[in-house]
């Protein structure tokens, strides 16, 4: 048994952390939020240069052909630094959906531009299957809460066709039949959009897999990757809470020396550590493409959602009044915790999935 990342993977993580510490301070995140810029383009260019979006894309398609484990360590650091980029939408979701549900020819055509970051892609797969209808290879309808929908070049939409079958369709967001509108959300550093389609042209994803199955597979992968982002966020909040309460004095002693604060931080640590260990197991299952993945992914996701909510809210509490100010970074993590937890269907939905899988195991 070797239930840990390799030295190489840890090196990648160290480098990622170093780069992000330099290029993605909270000032970067705040700039995106304050200016309504949707993402930090300079940071995204850096990330592209380092080849992160290409991590799990096969070398034949211009990727690095690495395993999901490398993506997991990168995810941790993106989560820790609250990186305001379309990485989740484009890499975890859209790239994976294309790898899973597109035909070989489509993959060969589309993946290289995702690998090199020329194209930013997203997905619009939530809501009802009948939100969008495809007729004669043209789509009409609306999708809400589309991650980075304002800046993506293309989107994969789940939609129903004339025969009432669910399918996945690629839509170019430059198409004249598409309009988009930003939707204010709890975390403006992961902005959402409403997409409206009116007879926009589509390409059907042509792989040998049903849309339902493809979405399920990709959601499981994304659940593990998001869990690492959430664990990274948890670690950041614990560090913040420790630093602030150690520096601050009340009643003549460090706030961190009060048992109520120590035990609060211990509870945050415990939740984070359970989430981290569950994420590790998910990473193993993901990298080994093991049958355990379905249960492991749901477990990692639920554990990480609970941990990040706890850590981000109690970090505010540990900061006292200052934690409630816009000026302090506490709320950026709290907002991110909300944004990540609602993705892919929210906590109750994933708890129910977990139990389905546990009882079937």
């Amino acid at each position: 048994m070797n239930f840990d990342f390799s030295e190489d993977q840890k090196n990648i993580q160290e480098q990622a952390r170093g780069m992000l510490a330099k290029e993605c301070s909270s000032a970067t995140v705040r700039r995106v939020i304050d200016k309504g810029e949707y993402y930090d383009n300079a940071l995204w260019r850096q990330i592209v240069q380092l080849g992160w979006p290409a991590t799990t894309i096969a070398e034949e398609h211009g990727g690095l052909g690495l395993s999901y484990l490398e993506l997991c360590v990168i995810a941790t650091e993106l989560g820790r630094s609250l990186a305001p980029t379309p990485f989740i939408a484009s890499v975890y979701l859209s790239t994976e959906l294309i790898k899973t549900a597109a035909s070989s020819q489509q993959q060969a055509e589309w993946l290289p531009s995702l690998a090199c970051g020329d194209v930013i892609s997203t997905v619009a797969v939530n809501g009802s299957p009948r939100d969008c209808l495809v007729k004669n290879m043209q789509i009409s309808g609306n999708k809400s809460a589309v991650l980075h929908g304002m800046i993506a070049n293309q989107v994969i939409v789940s939609a129903t066709n004339e025969r009432d079958e669910l399918g996945l369709y690629l839509v170019n967001l430059g198409d004249s039949g598409v309009s988009r509108k930003v939707q204010n959300s709890l975390d403006p550093s992961l902005p959402r959009a409403e997409l409206s389609f009116s007879n926009a042209n589509v390409v059907a994803l042509g792989g040998d897999i049903s849309a339902e199955k493809a979405l399920s597979v990709v959601f499981d992968r994304a659940a593990v990757l998001l869990a690492f982002e959430q664990v990274g966020g948890c670690e950041a909040t614990i560090e913040m809470a420790k630093a602030y309460t150690s520096d601050r004095y009340a009643f003549g002693r460090q706030v961190a020396s009060f048992q109520a604060i120590k035990h609060k931080l211990a509870d945050m640590f415990v939740a984070k550590e359970l989430a981290k260990s569950n994420a590790y197991y998910g990473a193993w299952a993901l990298s080994a493409d093991a049958p355990e993945l379905a249960l492991a992914a749901a477990t990692a996701r639920v554990s990480a959602i609970d941990a990040y909510y706890l850590c981000s809210k109690e970090n505010i509490q540990a900061h006292g009044g200052m934690g409630f100010t816009w000026e302090f970074d506490c709320h950026l993590y709290y907002r991110r915790a909300q944004a990540l937890s609602t993705l892919l269907g929210g906590n109750p939905y994933w708890k129910s999935l977990l139990v389905d899988r546990l009882l079937a195991a």
């Binding site: 809460a145 709890l186 009340a250 003549g252 505010i316 509490q317 409630f324 909300q338 109750p348």
Partner: protein
Amino acid sequence: MDFKDSPEQAEFRAEIRCWLQSNARAKSASGGRKDQSEAYEDAKAWYKKVADAGYACLNWPKQYGGAGLTDIHKVIWSQEVSNYDEPDAYFVIGIGNCGPALMHFATEEQKQHLLPPMASAETVWCQMFSEPSAGSDVAGLRTTAVADGDKWLINGQKIWTSGAQHSDYGVILCRTDPTISKYRGMTMFFIDMRQAGVEVKPIKQMDGGSHFNEVFFNNAVIPDAYRLGDVGGGWGAALLVLMNERLAIAGVQPDGFPEFLSLVKTLHIDGEPISANPAVREHLAEWYYKHAGIKASTNRMLTAVAKGGMPGAEAALGKLVGAVMNQDIANYAIQLMGDTGSISEPEFAQQQAHFQKTVLFSPGIRLAGGTDEVMRNVIAEQVLGLPQEPRADKGLAFNEIPSGNQSR
């Protein structure tokens, strides 16, 4: 045991019910959220109208702008006015906290001069205790008042002052002697908020609002006549002010339950009403008994007050339980909504994005007026009588107390 009014109370209730019917705005007439200065003007107008009718500060003596009635009349008033859309609690901190401070410590002349316009909100007051380095440890405050003949020179900074930007006067707690024990070296004053040397700066909150302020004092000069109580008697005066706050706050604290109940009654997921889902129902049951328990606890406290008792530290439980559940309810509601849960557009999200707004505002409720941890300390020490922790600042002069890197 009953919920009936006494004949005299029933008569009073009928009287104000009648007055409110012709003078207060109905709930349905609500014009939605107002911006801050609009809301302030609106509240001033309401308070003035109430004062003109003789219903301001019902439990204050008549000569100070009140109606000379009891706390229970005030409770009846609150119950009745809660059926209308009027900003009746808008100036609760000024009137509920600063009022008693003046009542207790000001000269007769000052009281007659200052209290009636406070009661009618023609002058508005704020309370300045907290400081950047004195949060849960209020007595750790550092704003100095230095005597200069029959004047005092105020320097320092206050924070978390509600409504400072709209206030005419403020009650302020200052350090007048840093060389003795921290509790004995404080004095209370009031100050003109418009005078030279006083600067108010709104704080931008994590939810984007600016309910609170920082207030900076830079050689602000006040006469000794503005002193409330003895030099060195500030802590006792502050405790008296905070004690009065309890009744004002009891039962006002939002706990988020009514909105959650509405959500459960209306929301469907995948075509199923969530009210049929046992997981949702379990949460509903737990939050309901807390909500009902807070309400019933408040009624027990009001009964005790009506019999002549003082509101006890038990009031802390409503704040503790309500603030935590308010946050958890909002988070749970958003999780139920799934992918669209984080969308905060009022036209899009359930109940004009109530839950999304609450997610961002509720952390502040857990902090304002004492953190969860302070509430538990209050209950443990003041209600249960458990021993204090050993005090690291005990027996030390204020300027000898360890304070780490915090600026003094």
